[in-house]
């Protein structure tokens, strides 16, 4: 190579490097690159601003030691578990969320994307792009708080209306005539529908906003379900429906799942079965543990789901043509909600139905729930 060519090549190389620098610095989110020893080779302005360091404090320094990472439970993430190390070791890109400790010691929640830098199929470093998600987390927290508060505050006045209407109707405040009783029944019916609507809307809002809380714990499925049987029996009694719980427990009843969500799913499916079954009918809830999962069956002797409606029953606001005229109080949200709840705990739902004979809903719950 002659001198002129060498100079041209050097100029090209400098130009490429400057272009890479400009590109790196123009990334709107924090970006850091490391070499194969984990030392910081490049860092852009947003990253410096978020982490509170000077460029000179970071370049050439070990990223893992200088910027501490913690999970959302406040536990420091060990070197080998750090996403950047994992990306380097596996050669795979990683997307995750964690907390960084800034130079000042404050916590910075970030959404990060890491890609290994490969040369001749060998990782020679990694690039990490991260963005501050503290505002998103605050909004999520406020949403959850609002939902919980709204749930309580909307229900308190409703409880008073319902309790006093019942007391009036049942003669606690003196005898009433038939017309007065019937008017109070109308008020009670409306408060029940309002209650149902509040429950459903709040749950759907939790699912759709992603603020549904899944808390995993080892549970005995029979024990969990037995806690809601008294309330379900009250609903069945009100319609003179024979409701029973059957447990075929040859396999273990142990399950790692969110008990509250399971209760919500079963409550919805059993109340639905009661709602769409004529008075004096039957509803049976069976717990059938299998080796790989826990199967729940909710069988009713109700009106059934018409063939034409079968692929739409889990759709929002859908109501079967055969039940709209019989049961006018549905919202078409119950099964949509149930499906969302089941998906939140990695379960499955399906059904078999014969019109005018009844429906059986099957729910399969995984024995071990891994949400990672």
């Amino acid at each position: 190579m002659n001198q002129a060519n060498l100079k041209l090549s050097q100029q090209k190389s400098i130009r490429k490097s400057k272009e890479a620098d400009a590109l790196f610095n123009s990334i709107g989110e924090g970006a850091i690159t490391t070499d194969e020893f984990g030392r910081i080779t490049r860092v852009n302005k947003p990253a410096l601003k978020m982490l509170g360091f000077h460029k000179s404090e970071l370049i050439g320094q070990p990223f893992l030691k200088l910027v501490i990472a913690e999970d959302f439970d406040g536990k420091v993430i060990g070197t080998i578990d750090r996403p950047i190390v994992q990306a380097f070791l596996t050669g795979q890109s990683i997307l995750t969320k964690l907390n960084y400790r800034t130079k000042k010691g404050t916590l910075l929640p970030v959404d990060i994307s890491i890609s290994p830098l490969m040369l001749n199929n060998r990782p020679v470093g990694a690039i990490e792009v991260f963005r501050d998600i503290s505002l998103e987390q605050e909004i999520d927290r406020m949403k959850s708080e609002f939902i919980s508060l709204a749930s309580h505050q909307l229900r308190t006045p409703l409880s008073a209306i319902k309790t006093y209407s019942h007391m009036l109707r049942d003669g606690y405040m003196g005898k009433l005539n038939k017309h007065q009783k019937s008017s109070l029944d109308t008020i009670i019916g409306a408060t029940n529908r309002m209650n149902e609507l509040i429950s459903t809307l709040l749950n759907i809002s939790r699912i759709e906003s992603g603020t549904i809380n899944v808390t995993l714990k080892k549970n005995n499925i029979e024990k969990v379900i037995k806690e809601i049987i008294p309330e379900l029996t009250l609903i069945a009694d009100a319609k003179a429906i024979e409701f029973k719980l059957v447990s075929t427990s040859t396999e273990s009843l142990e399950i790692v799942t969110d008990a509250l969500i399971v209760k919500e799913i079963v409550t919805n499916l059993v109340s639905n079965a009661i709602k769409y079954t004529e008075a004096n009918g039957k509803v049976c809830l069976t717990i059938a543990p299998r080796k790989q999962d826990i199967l729940l069956k909710i069988k009713d002797s109700g009106w059934g789901i018409p063939e034409i409606a079968r692929d739409k029953v889990f759709t929002k606001f859908y109501r079967g043509s055969n039940i709209v005229s019989k049961e006018t109080n549905g919202t078409g949200l119950g099964l949509y909600l149930v499906k969302g709840l089941i998906e939140a705990i990695n379960g499955k739902i399906w059904f078999k139905s014969v019109e005018k004979k009844g429906t059986t809903f099957y729910v399969s719950l995984p024995r071990e729930l891994d949400l990672k």
């Binding site: 309580h152 308190t156 319902k162 309790t163 049942d170 509250l260």
Partner: protein, 136 residues
């Protein structure tokens, strides 16, 4: 007849529950927060506490923690709340609550039924005559 302590901060609801349970023949005392309930718990030694969770001054969970610490008596705890599906309910079970009923879903006769059933369950022997349970 059993001694029941109704702990509910909403005065209208508290009054209603007292009327319903007195109508069932029980001896009922009202408290409007957990702190007041702890004092009355020592005084009247109830057989059952009908307990709301979200209350000012001292909520239901704090009351249960204090109750567990002192073990002032063997009252049964019946949660009566509108906090459907909340982790607080699981926590309350751990702290000794026997049962949980959602207020806005429960009609007076059902409240009376659940109270009477809870009183009757396990080793409870004090009910002299079981009150008549009305079907919906």
């Amino acid at each position: 007849m059993a001694k029941i302590l109704v702990v509910e901060d909403d005065r209208d609801l508290n009054k209603a529950y007292c009327i319903i349970l007195r109508h069932e023949g029980h001896d009922v005392v009202a408290a409007f927060d957990g702190k007041e309930a702890l004092v009355k718990l020592s005084e009247i030694k109830p057989d059952l506490v009908l307990l709301d969770l979200l209350m000012p001054v001292m909520g239901g969970l704090e009351f249960l923690k204090a109750w567990a610490d002192h073990k002032k008596n063997d009252a049964k705890i019946l949660l009566f709340t509108n906090m459907e599906n909340s982790p607080e309910i699981s926590e309350a079970y751990k702290l000794g609550a026997s049962r949980c009923i959602i207020k806005s879903w429960t009609a007076p006769h059902n409240l009376a039924k659940v109270v009477n059933d809870t009183l009757k369950s396990d080793s409870f022997k004090k009910i002299k005559s079981r009150p008549k349970v009305q079907k919906v």
